[in-house]
Symmetry: C2
């Protein structure tokens, strides 16, 4: 436990989030996602949903301002026009934190699996609802003068 | 790098600070302190002094409110009435963060060495001035309603 830091951000997760550099990708996934099979480090948050987890992570994790779409979601039912309520909430949270306009990158399920093998790490939740799978590309913390 | 967290708090140090529990002791030491010989984990902050390091750490690390003197300094020249300017500055910083009255516990040098072997971890700086050695006892983060 630390003052002023969301308690969901455990020491292990803080270390990973901090050690990630510009362009590294973090996966945030629901309980059905094949997290261990990615071969990447997995942090298990226990009985927490993806919206709560995204809110804690995006409080400290800058999304990449150098690319157009630093936030990706898994495509729903092979229809890019569909979203889930969790996806909508996470885009709202990310938009509040991000200094630029933000739209989803949409990644079909099998492509998402493929890309997950190159992630820096995977944050696993017990989100029960499907398609709660996201990719967050890490950005830069600028010095205060340039903020 | 993370948003809103002092960049001196590296991932490794954040993990240690977060994983420490109530009553665990953190050492913050100058460049001459026998840090490695404690046998405890050592985080090396590089060319940083103890005041800067204490300021970053005390921004997230709660001192123990359950004990009278959760902050100790190494005794100067075997005279408990002497302090260094770094010690004075660190007490000022700690007092600003701590919700209760705060006075030094003063630990003679050889007792400090003995006690350091039971520390949770050691934060090593390149502080050039002597007696820049401190023990921080970790406290509790209370839920907001009880704050």
């Amino acid at each position: 436990m630390l003052k002023g830091i969301d308690p969901l951000l455990s020491g292990e997760l803080l270390r990973i989030l901090d050690e990630m550099g510009h362009g590294d990708e973090l996966l945030l996934v629901d309980r059905n996602f094949p997290a261990a099979a990615t071969g990447r480090p997995v942090v298990r948050l226990g009985e927490v949903g993806v919206v709560r987890a995204a809110s804690a992570i995006l409080g400290v994790f800058p999304l990449d301002e150098f690319i157009e779409r630093p936030l990706a979601r898994m495509e729903v039912h092979e229809d890019p026009t569909l979203t889930t309520s969790e996806q909508d909430e996470i885009l709202d949270i990310a938009r509040r934190e991000h200094p630029r306009a933000l739209e989803w990158e949409i990644v079909p399920r099998l492509d998402f699996y493929e890309r997950s093998r190159r992630a820096y790490a995977v944050v696993h939740t017990l989100e029960p609802r499907p398609w709660g799978c996201f990719i967050l590309s890490k950005g830069v913390v600028f010095p205060p003068a340039e903020a």
